[in-house]
């Protein structure tokens, strides 16, 4: 299921082959920063990926593949020796060396937004001009996955130290920086001197345009003002599909939406109640209402594309839910508060609210503004909530922050505090043998879904609308990918 499905296979009629050499991509929000270590969001990452290289990168199947790295080895459980390709040039023509690598990775530890990415690293040594040795604090299986994060991009040390503050950003990627009009657009130009001839940029220029409103994005695509809409509003999927000139791409993402419960507070401190919730919620209805069906039902705490996934067997069964509730003594129903933030989560909450009403639970929705929401969730003031989580390909990147007991007060909003869960997480993290790791995770899934700290809802599809004339549009679970390869 990892091949992008191009739905409604259509080619622009051969008569009018489009010869455009510039690509405009509509995205819903502006990038936060051009410094790849100054942000931690997908919009910015998409741009930094074109401007910078990392030692490794993910392919569309979510596998780690080398980017700058030429060879790597693991002398011990905690040591990684990586040699980068020779002759990689930054946009200003200077060559990339191991010093830049050491500098970049060390810098990432000091940058607030990304200091967590390589927090497992103990030290970095320059072995020779093109080789570095990285020591981790402990055996850390998903280490290579951390290196694909934008925060681990390799920056030109000289440039960064010049204090330009990324005003005229210089990287090594397939595209060079031209302009960033805050709130409006980012313009990139093809890097003719890119080191990787196989992955050269295809279009002369790429423009990322910010169009916050969904309907406006679709219309811009329809009028041809933009070539690709990276987050197509799901209600408009059929419109794009039916339009001769447009093509629709969808692919399940790694973003899992879940109904979270505060495991420390009644009534959700009771496992049976939590299980009842898993039966009471009609995931299909949620998907229909929230994303117009563009997703797949979620059956565990992670997206199916993620390593070691194993689904649970909860199904929509209000009768069962009632039964369970009755068993714990909530025959006459109960009242809970349900928190949400943002438009989509509001819709999800509304469906949940309606579902719960059927089993005799009155859920009062409280809406918060995003910053407040997260803050209050961290403080554990909630009873239940709706949230999404987009994860790295490595399961640990989800499980530790979300279910590890020490993350309570952080992202562990369900406040899961279970010795066994902790043990699973720790042992899987240190397990370097892939099969064993997968087995541990399989078992973990079973265990945690029985505990049911949350009720998984659905995994949203990435939905991209594009001009039908565009070729090589590929989606990865993270969304629009390999932008440098897209062309008319």
């Amino acid at each position: 299921s990892s091949k992008p499905e191009k739905q409604g296979e259509k080619e622009a009629s051969s008569g009018d082959v489009i010869m455009k050499k510039d690509l405009t991509i509509a995205s819903s929000a502006d990038i936060a920063s051009l410094d790849p270590q100054g942000h931690n969001d997908t919009k910015s990452e998409r741009v930094s990926c074109l401007l910078f290289n990392k030692l490794f990168k993910l392919n569309t199947d979510f596998k780690v593949v080398p980017d700058l790295a030429e060879k790597w080895s693991q002398p011990s459980d905690t040591e990684w020796v990586i040699k980068i390709k020779e002759g990689v040039k930054f946009h200003d023509g200077t060559e990339m060396t191991a010093n830049d690598v050491k500098f970049s990775l060390e810098r990432s530890l000091t940058q607030p937004k990304v200091q967590h990415v390589l927090s497992g690293v103990e030290s970095i040594e320059v072995v020779d001009n093109y080789t570095v040795k990285i020591k981790t604090k402990s055996a850390f299986a998903p280490f290579l996955y951390t290196l694909v994060h934008a925060g681990a991009s390799i920056l030109p040390q000289a440039y960064v130290e010049s204090g330009d503050n990324f005003a005229k950003t210089i990287g090594s990627g397939p595209y060079t920086f031209v302009e960033w009009a805050s709130g409006d657009k980012v313009v990139l130009k093809k890097n003719e001197a890119y080191f990787d001839a196989d992955n050269m940029g295809q279009m002369e220029t790429i423009t990322f345009r910010v169009i916050p409103e969904g309907t406006s994005r679709t219309i811009a695509l329809e009028t041809g003002e933009v070539d690709i809409v990276e987050e197509l509003q799901t209600i408009d999927m059929s419109k794009v599909e039916e339009n001769e000139k447009l093509a629709l791409y969808t692919k399940p993402s790694t973003t899992i939406n879940y109904f979270g419960m505060n495991n420390e507070k009644a009534p959700f401190d009771n496992q049976l109640v939590r299980q009842a919730m898993n039966y009471a919620i009609d995931k299909q209805a949620i998907m229909t209402v929230a994303v117009n069906g563009a997703g797949i039902e979620a059956k565990s705490v992670l997206a199916p594309t993620i390593l070691g996934y194993k689904e649970s067997n909860y199904a929509y069964d209000p009768a069962k839910a009632k039964e369970l509730l009755a068993a714990v003594g909530y025959k006459d129903g109960l009242e809970i508060s349900l928190w949400a933030s943002g438009d989509e989560r509001k819709r999800i909450a509304e469906v949940i609210q309606a579902n719960l009403l059927e089993v005799g639970i009155q859920a009062n929705i409280e809406m918060f503004e995003w910053g407040t929401y997260i803050d209050k969730l961290m403080k554990g003031e909630h009873q239940s909530f709706v949230l999404g989580w987009s994860s790295n390909p490595d399961p640990d990147a989800t499980l530790t922050p979300l279910y590890y007991s020490e993350s309570i007060g952080g992202m562990n909003f369900s406040r899961t505090n279970d010795k066994k869960v902790d043990k699973f997480i720790l042992s899987a993290r240190g397990e370097l043998d892939l099969d064993k790791r997968v087995a541990t995770y399989n078992e973990f899934h079973q265990y945690i879904m029985d505990k049911a700290p949350i009720a998984p809802l659905f995994v949203k599809n990435n939905v991209v609308g594009a001009n039908a004339g565009l070729k090589d549009v590929e989606l990865s679970p993270q969304g629009l990918w390999n932008i440098e390869k897209i062309h008319y």
């Binding site: 920063s33 657009k185 910010v210 406006s216 803050d375």
Partner: protein, 308 residues
């Protein structure tokens, strides 16, 4: 006159102090922790605590505020908590866009509403008058984003007259400016109409007619100038409303203005950025109103006499 302007400009200082203080204070009331925002999702508790100490977030509000003001007075608006960008650079990049949009919108609504108001007044209770007033009312009763989306569907999608959003060329200005203008049109039209009605009953209008001045000239030369005075006040106030209302228009039309920046910054509790935005809002609002007051003096010699 110059003295008056200077005095007014000086008056801005306490107002700005008040504005910044109030906003600083309200934001500090909102839940959410700046340190964890700066650090982002993956931050550890220790890092948060450390940063909080370092940035002085544990200090009393007043102290934090005075520190901010000290920075401000030396021209430093601070660094965005959220993006690490320099607030003043960011605002300088964004504000002109909003300003341009607002000014064009005001211009449009003046161009639309003054003639309607005048004609309505001169033909009080006629069909034109009634329809004009009802349209004006319908104008204010439609939410901005709704009008915006309708205009996009109509003029970008169906007729491809104008781009659906973004900011290149004058064409992209038309729809957002028009959307923004519609709401203020009602107020200005109604004020123009009522002050015009007031003015055409004045004796000097009769004097002018008795001189043999033709009807059109009476309206244009004698009545309009007098009727403009209250209308201008409303225009000044509307300017503030528009500045504030630009948020929605900017969102719908992907206009990279300061309204969107502000809302976004509030949501991330990016205090320096919010304050930066508010300061330019408040400043431009106050300055526009100062300009309006100066305009009065030009239109109305009686007021001019008071200023000097």
């Amino acid at each position: 006159m110059l003295k008056y302007i200077l005095r007014r400009l000086l008056m801005l200082i306490p107002v700005m102090m008040g504005v910044t203080f109030l906003v600083y204070f309200i934001i500090s009331l909102t839940p959410g922790d700046a340190a964890s925002i700066i650090l982002g999702d993956g931050a550890t508790e220790e890092a948060v605590i450390e940063l909080r100490e370092k940035m002085g977030f544990n200090d009393p509000i007043i102290l934090q505020y005075t520190n901010y003001i000290k920075g401000l007075l030396s021209g430093d608006m601070g660094i965005s908590y959220d993006t690490g960008k320099n607030v003043s650079t960011e605002i300088i990049a964004r504000f002109p866009n909003t300003f341009k949009l607002t000014v064009i919108a005001i211009f449009l609504s003046v161009v639309i509403s003054i003639p309607i108001g005048v004609i309505s007044a001169t033909r009080q209770y006629s069909i034109f008058d009634n329809i004009g007033m009802i349209l004006a009312l319908v104008g204010i009763s439609m939410p901005t984003f709704w009008i915006g989306l309708m205009l996009i569907i109509l003029f970008s999608l169906n007729f491809s007259f104008f781009p659906s959003g973004g900011m290149d060329g004058w064409k992209s200005l038309i729809l957002p400016a028009f959307t923004l203008a519609i709401a203020s049109t009602a107020g200005i039209t109604r004020t123009t109409r009522s002050s015009m009605l007031e003015v055409i009953r004045q004796d000097y209008i009769n004097t002018a007619k008795a001189k043999g001045v033709s009807r059109k000239v009476v309206i244009r030369k004698h009545a309009l100038k007098n009727a403009l005075i209250p209308a201008i006040t409303v225009i000044g106030l509307e300017f503030g409303v528009l500045l504030g209302g630009a948020v929605l228009t900017e969102t719908v039309f992907a206009w990279p203005g300061i309204g969107r920046l502000m809302v976004q910054s509030i949501q991330t509790k990016d205090t320096p950025m919010v304050l930066g935005c508010v300061i330019v809002f408040a400043l431009s609002f106050s300055i526009v109103n100062l300009i309006i007051d100066i305009l009065y003096a030009y239109i109305d010699p009686r007021i001019k006499a008071n200023y000097s």
